[in-house]
Amino acid sequence: MRRTNELTLLPKLPLLITESADEFDALRDAFEQEIKPRGIIEQMYVHDICAIVWEILRLRRCKVVIINSAFRNALQSLLKPVLRQPGQYEYQVEGEAEALAQAWFTDQEAKKQVSEILAGFDLDESAIEAEAIRRSSSDLELLDRMLTSLESRRNKALGCVAEYRASLAQQLRESAERIIDRKGVLRLEDAASEHSTAA
């Protein structure tokens, strides 16, 4: 009951239309089981960690898709110089390279043909991937910077929970000592008053 109240107080994390709210809830439940937040402040930190991890997952998915979507253009640009015969210009083989790059995704024969052409230059499919990464390097670099920043923030947020709990433990220790001291003072006062009445 308490948990529901705290969660409704905290702003709900907005998700993309294509993202699953159930998956996010499952992620949050997993973190809550692990960290076992107590009180609104710890709930805030856990909420924060979940939001950061969710964004990390989103950007990682994007990274893969960005590389994959650069494959066709990468293959096309890789095929142009290898298809070109001596005395030919690249634009003369542009159509063939485009058709072969298109067919590579759906036609096994085309895939085999591309592998053979590349093998003639001691290249394999990893050359296509390398070209795809090279072509999207500026986006990937930005994505990597954001991922690094998010990962460091996630670690800091985890550290914040620990720091908060440590400061709380310290405060509880200090409060306990104060109470013990006060009791000690009272005991001494009681003893003093007993002495005075006896006298």
Binding site: E6, P14, V65, I66, M146, Y164, S167
Partner: protein, 185 residues
């Protein structure tokens, strides 16, 4: 560099201008410094103020101590700032996914010359590229492309988010420097 006389004349002329006079003009000028609104006060709308008050009460508990309430307010404000930046991030991605771009591309000088030449010679005017048509139609490619398009903006927003998180953590430590949290509530 302006001479003494020019500076004096500029100052005299500036005194004659007192800014916009009409209501609409004053309203427009009041938003001159507005850029993205992320650093503005969170209490600028009634809904935010209500949410802020609820969160402050939850953090501070039954305390009526002004300092405790002020510290709780700092935590709540930073928390709502974080939420606002996160909403802005998602809204940007959704917008890029829906329209294919954030801002319409500006025509280059060459494109303008081509446009004018085509118009003068009665040739068909080149159609602008439809950004939406360049977006992948299927998921997750479309979302990834939208994220790719708004990456520079996301990075800027990330900096705001980081600052808000630091501010909240400092506020939390300040808050518990003054009072003990009640875990049994």
């Amino acid at each position: 560099m302006a001479s003494e006389r020019q500076i004096a004349a500029n100052r005299r002329n500036a005194r004659k201008s007192t800014g916009p006079r009409s209501g609409a003009g004053r309203k427009r000028a009041s938003r001159n410094a507005y850029r993205h609104g992320l650093t503005s006060s969170i209490t600028s709308t009634a809904a935010y103020a209500k949410q802020l008050a609820k969160l402050v009460r939850e953090i501070a508990g039954d305390s009526k101590d002004t300092i405790v309430l002020e510290r709780a307010r700092a935590i709540a404000q930073a928390e709502l700032d974080l939420a606002r930046v996160r909403r802005a991030k998602v809204a940007l991605i959704e917008r890029a996914s829906a329209f294919g771009e954030l801002d319409p591309p500006q025509l280059t000088v060459t494109q303008m010359i081509r446009f004018v030449n085509a118009f003068e010679r009665g040739r068909p005017i080149p159609k602008p590229i439809d950004a939406l048509a360049t977006m992948p139609s299927k998921e997750p490619d479309r979302s990834a492309e939208a994220v790719r398009q708004v990456l520079p903006e996301l990075r800027k927003l990330d900096r705001y988010e980081r600052r808000a998180a630091v501010r909240r953590h400092r506020a939390v430590l300040d808050f518990f420097g003054g009072m003990r949290p009640d875990y049994n509530r």
